[in-house]
């Protein structure tokens, strides 16, 4: 059973229907006991980093997620949920993340050419590094497959953990992983069949 962690941020409807469509059994929960007993964890998130990080800490679920991840339980962070896996974010101030993947989250403003719009919204290709083994969660994908992105901030200083990048005036981190901890900046639940194949591969870990 896969637990989609509910800490009061965002709408989990799409995520749970996408898992349902691939035949996976999920539960949307904020209960530490259910999270501990789940086989795998999904950390979703939309909105502002500090708001989400505060909610996670207030609920006490931050400690549960860290403990479970350290035991080796597969964890997938999506969008803001991915950004929360890093050590810190510089979105309107400096905020502490879960620290499960080394690196930090910064604005793409000033990194990408000024004529490009922020947020980066739309379908963009993901590029796998040629010198690394393909991530297990991308086993069904091809180089350059398109995913749906909506974000203004991205993970940096995490080169050793980057599993794919996307080109938007600069090469931005599209996904990262550290052992059993996986993060995708894009929305696999909104990225058609290719996106669903990532969730399927995650279920098969």
């Amino acid at each position: 059973m896969i637990a989609i962690i509910d800490y009061g941020v965002g709408n989990l409807f799409s995520l749970s229907s996408s898992f349902k469509s691939i035949g996976a059994n999920t539960v949307i929960t904020g209960d530490p006991e259910i999270i501990r007993s789940a086989d795998k964890l999904i950390l979703p998130g939309v909105g502002a980093f500090s708001d989400a990080a505060d909610k996670l800490r207030l609920s006490g679920l931050d400690k549960v997620i860290i403990e479970e991840a350290k035991k080796g339980k597969p964890l997938l962070g999506i969008c803001l949920g991915m950004q929360m896996l890093f050590e810190k974010s510089f979105e309107y101030g400096e905020h502490k993340g879960l620290g499960l993947i080394p690196g930090s989250v910064v604005s793409m403003k000033g990194v990408i050419p000024s004529e490009l719009k922020v947020p980066h919204i739309g379908w963009n290709g993901i590029i796998f590094p040629k010198d690394k083994l393909r991530s297990k969660i991308f086993k069904y994908l091809n180089q350059g497959d398109h995913m749906y992105f909506v974000h203004s901030f991205y993970a940096t200083d995490c080169e050793d953990f980057v599993s794919s990048k996307t080109e938007y005036g600069a090469l931005l981190t599209a996904s990262a992983e550290n052992g059993n901890v996986y993060g995708v900046q894009f929305h696999p639940e909104k990225s058609g069949k290719k996106g669903l194949s990532i969730l399927k591969a995650f279920c098969e870990l």
Partner: protein, 253 residues
Amino acid sequence: MITKRIIPCLDVKDGRVVKGVNFEGLHDVSSPIKLAKYYSDCGADELVFYDITASSDQRQLFTDILCETAKQVFIPLTVGGGINTVADFDRVLKCGADKVSVNSGAIRNPSLIKEAAKLYGDQCVVLSVDIKRVNGVFRVFAKGGREDTGLEAIEWIKRCVADGAGEVVVNSIDTDGVKKGFDLEMLKAVCKAVSVPVIASGGAGKTEDFITLFKELPKVDAGLAASIFHFGEVKIADLKDEMVKHNIPTRIC
């Protein structure tokens, strides 16, 4: 690089997908749930669900059919029709919409876009405008194209974008249902006025119309159509193959 989007539009009335010519003479096509699943699977880049009579009937959009539709869609979903308040935004977002499209509601309630953008972010707010030439001037029409508001379209769009509309759907009543191509003149005027993504709607009759759109107006981000997709006159996979041949950035799946 961000790809150009192809967006089928489900115009829903009484729970069924319809498509008319110049908004009149609606005929039944299919179940929105089945069509949505078909498009989500077959390579559409986004889906628009409009409850086309919610606004003119002055009632709320059908949320039960929307929820069932959203369950079948694994691409971004934009929902519109009868969106008049922030509570309407909340209701359709909870049904699984990613973006909410406002049209008549923004005319009736001038603070709606500002309030919604503040709560849900600019990326969530789509301004949809039905535009028709009146004595050579682009004018905004309301209630599904039935009522001349007297508003000048370009000024209206600029104001809504300044308020926080993150995207603009330009629906030309003059070319809608005519199938002779998008309204390039109107779209060009909108692209010149705003920097947010512009979605072209109204007039597509064949694959070449999309190629012309993206080649002639590189600032247009997406092409939207309904009946030509529903009736299979244009197949999305074939359209995308053609876009690739013309070096238009395209998502292939």
